[in-house]
Symmetry: C2
Subunit: 327 residues, 2 copies
Amino acid sequence: MSEKITLKNVCKFLKKQDDFIILTHISPDGDTLGSAYALALGLISIGKKACVVCSDDIPQQYDFFVKKANLQPINYKTILAVDVADAKLLGPLYNDYADKIELNIDHHVSNTGFAKRLYLDASASATAECIYDILKAMRIKINSQIAECIYTGISTDTGCFKYSNVTAKTHKIAAELHGFDVDAAEINRIMFDTKSKARIKLERMVLDSAEFHFNDRCMLLTVTEEMKKSSGCTQSDLDGVASISRSVEGVMAGVSVKQSEDDTYKISLRTYEPLDASEICKKLGGGGHKNAAGCSLSGTLTDVKQQVLDVVKQALEELDAGTFNNK
Amino acid sequence: MSEKITLKNVCKFLKKQDDFIILTHISPDGDTLGSAYALALGLISIGKKACVVCSDDIPQQYDFFVKKANLQPINYKTILAVDVADAKLLGPLYNDYADKIELNIDHHVSNTGFAKRLYLDASASATAECIYDILKAMRIKINSQIAECIYTGISTDTGCFKYSNVTAKTHKIAAELHGFDVDAAEINRIMFDTKSKARIKLERMVLDSAEFHFNDRCMLLTVTEEMKKSSGCTQSDLDGVASISRSVEGVMAGVSVKQSEDDTYKISLRTYEPLDASEICKKLGGGGHKNAAGCSLSGTLTDVKQQVLDVVKQALEELDAGTFNNK
């Protein structure tokens, strides 16, 4: 298990070390990338060397800070990870790096503690909030480039300040970032309101796939390889499909089942309190946050759906009986 | 034209007067209602009498503050309006009240100045921000009920802190409101993520209606009476359809054409800078904000679409020629 360290000791550690390689999680999102780039830029601004490594291609939508940063590969000495809750989420980087990570910075309460040191702030809406705290504590000056990265991390992980992970502190940080010439509206447009025509086509098919279960308290959406092909969608076009599943009146559990290979399905679960998505997905070997979690399942589409519906049904029954989360 | 008054004089005026009736605009949204209820509750908390009047039914989604406030009709002496940019937007209340409004509080730069006095802060993201300033300046204590109303106004008018009208101040206010036991995530769920099954059905039809024009820089969506009927949608199910029109990559002008009667259509235009939705809609007798404006047109659907496409085309051509907004 990781040694849990304080903000003060994070600062000490980062000041002492140099030549940082910062690892992000697979299927990189705005928080893991925004956090990694903000930290790298911050460290570089005080004379350190740093670069960011991800095992997947970085989606084009993050170009506005990734290309601007133009970080070059370095000979690293110190391995960091940001927003990586589980070593498995390093993907192909796992073999090379998993047992050598000196410090992991994260906000997932489910963090498995795989790194040597862990700075975990589960009250932070995003890992980018932790990075903000770290840069402040290190007295590193935030500039507009760093502010853009932090804003992107916070905005994407909170659904643009929409979810229950937002606190007064989240808004205070956002207020400060607005002072750095950050074009927040443009970032949000890219993150939330820029769908490809292929995505619009896919959405129509996904809405057609909608099933309602358990007195309309569960909505299930399906995305098959066939749907992806015929709409022309790329992987990143699929971001946010999961959130559609929770957007219907009365729905407490929104399930989306996405085919990733012939017989493998990525399940995303979105819930409203008191349902705990992380608890439900744990039963299927997955994990995540209270309101958003996931897992991977193999089998036929019918089987996979049934497995997910079974655990959702059980959770709803426990909720009705007043025994959910009371174990 | 209205006498434009300062924040200080708004406070003086409200302190001096009593028995307030606060008018909202037709098709009431979160900002006009949140502003009206926050102001009414604030005035009542210092011993005044106040009630809120709207010519349309208040959508159920606002019950959480409207029912809780439980304001009773009063014999009014002082007529106020909030978030009403044009006397026409009073709807059927126009005849009784339009020329007797003592004070209008608004953030629309396009306000026509129809009230006796006008407090206008065009830098405010929402009229609810103006109400916050007024309550603060009057040293009225904000409680959780008032905070809920102000939060709702700000959140709805900024697309949950997504649009370019958000400033550092907007986030600072949101941070403060978080301190008043406001369930922001639940408010946002009701405002943004609670669609009826009928709405989901309608969205499918609306997406099927999508037309792309001018090198995909304009997307046009249509909502006919027939579509409303067959999906079972109510008027409030239509909220937010307009924003879909601007959500596609490369689209700078999103048009939605909603049939309101047989040959009358409500046009909503959503634009990205430098296109100015308000300027474009003005040409068709409408108005609004820089990024979101509207107008009403009569004729056949084909005619109405053509009228809108013509002005959008002209604006795009001016933009290409570098003459847009340079007149």
